[in-house]
Structures are given as C-alpha cells and as structure tokens.
Subunit: 120 residues, 2 copies
DNA sequence: TCTAATGTTTGACTACACTCGAACTCTTCA
DNA sequence: TGAAGAGTTCGAGTGTAGTCAAACATTAGA
C-alpha cells in the first residue's frame, strides 16, 4: 500500500505518518535512513544517526544494506526491525526494494515535504 | 509536566509529540486549537477545523471555551475529550488554564516551531 | 548441492491506548 | 441553599502495538 501526497493532505494521512514516527525506535530508524539518504551534499551526520559501520554504501539510489546496518546498530530482533520497516512503508515514508540480496531503502520525498508543510 | 524545547530537540521528545498527533481525533482537536489561535491575521479557517458555533471567542489570549466547543463538534464523551486535552498538554503542544468556569487553551509556539524544524 | 546469511511470517505475550459511563468537585446562577 | 453546568477521575472493556523466538523462503557462495 502506497500513499500519494498532494498539496493539501488529508488529516488521516497525517495521523498515519505521525503514528509511524511515534515509536522512538522507529523514528530513529527513519532518521538514519533519512539522514544517510540526503547526504550527497556532504553534510556530516550526527553521531546518533550514523550507522556503526561507515561509510556503508553509495547513497545515490538509496541506502544499501539498510536492514542489516540497522539490525547491527539497534538492539532489536530482525523480526522487529522487519515490522518497523513495514510500518514506515505503509505510512508512505520510505520505499524498500530487494534485488537479490541487496536491500535498498529510499525516503519518499513527497511524504517528507508533507511533514515539512504541516503547520506551515 | 511541561517540556521545554531547544534548538536541537531530543528524539524522544519528537516521538512524544508525534504520538500525541498520531490519533486522528486528537490531531483534529489540536488543529482546531492551532488554527483558531493563529487567526489574528484573519486567515479564513478551513471548514474542517472550524468550531460549529463561530465566532466563538476572542483569540488573543488563546481559545476560550475550547473544551465545550470541541465536545459539541466531535462525537466524543467529555471524559474522552478531557483525556485528549491532557495528552496534548503532556506532549507540550498546548497549555490550558481555567479561571472559574472559563477554560482557555493556547498553542505552545516552541513545540510548533520544533515540529516545523523537524526534517529541515 | 550444502550451508550460511538475509529477510519474512506466524503465534504468542505483555503493555498500552481509546473509549465510555458513573461518580465526583467546583463554580455559577436562580 | 439547591440545581445545573463544566471538567476530572476512576474503573472497565476492547482493541492495537511492540517485541521476541521459531519456522520458513530466498539468495549467494563454497
């Protein structure tokens, strides 16, 4: 299920996004992906959001090996991490794809924009 | 319990704010207060966020009679509305005060600013 | 082909969230 | 002083969320 965002988003879509970000572990997962995706410009990533094993990958087409890197950083079982990834996807915040054993994550820019526009 | 916000807010505070906004009813309550508080400039309020009985009050020092107005608009019991107000207060999103029978609500601008700065 | 690594799904457990009605406290007004 | 109005607190019921371990599926490499 993917949501599409328009200029004025429905309240229910906002609450869905906020629900996805309401769990601290999940928020951290999202921030790690977000920060690492938007670092082409070379901003340094705050230690809190850095993957342990860095530099992890090329960020151009999304974060590679995101799942494994996050499992290593956070003290959570793989099934739990899988669940959190799914929640972030269902809220439309990220997209994930596998090609063979390569798991690549991307932030959905429309959703990011919607969050930025909220209250503005 | 009141939270104070600084330039770089803790992740846990963000997740607390998002949790408060993750329930659709509560998000709507917040938006009604927010929109009605920031309307001194005279922007018209979207029908969705308008109190039924309008104009309800003077907005200078916050929304007056917010509790009653919201009970009238939303199909929720007073105890439920009370609970939602408390959650919004605990997250630091609004402040409420009673003077006699006057219940006045205000949006916490620091929290609003924090949300606006998130991801920016 | 066998094995190890990577992620998913399922089932279970615990904790917390949303909601209501009922009983309560204050305040105001008759 | 009594009654009505406004909001809170409490207890209970139902549902959902977060987590894990175990079993599974798929892929890569030996």
């Amino acid at each position: 299920m993917m949501l599409y965002y328009f200029k004025t988003m429905e309240l229910s879509n906002y609450s869905r996004i906020f629900k996805a970000l309401s769990n601290e572990q999940r928020l951290k997962i999202f921030m790690m992906i977000y920060k690492n995706c938007s670092t082409e410009k070379g901003d340094s990533i705050k230690a809190e959001f850095r993957f342990k094993e860095e530099p992890c990958c090329s960020m151009k087409g999304g974060v590679e090996r995101a799942f494994t890197l996050i499992c290593d950083c956070m003290n959570l079982s793989r099934s739990t991490v899988s669940h959190h990834f799914k929640e972030l996807q269902n809220a439309g915040l990220i997209t994930c794809e596998r090609e063979g054993q390569t798991y690549r994550c991307n932030v959905n820019e429309d959703a990011v924009q919607a969050v930025k526009n909220f209250l503005s």
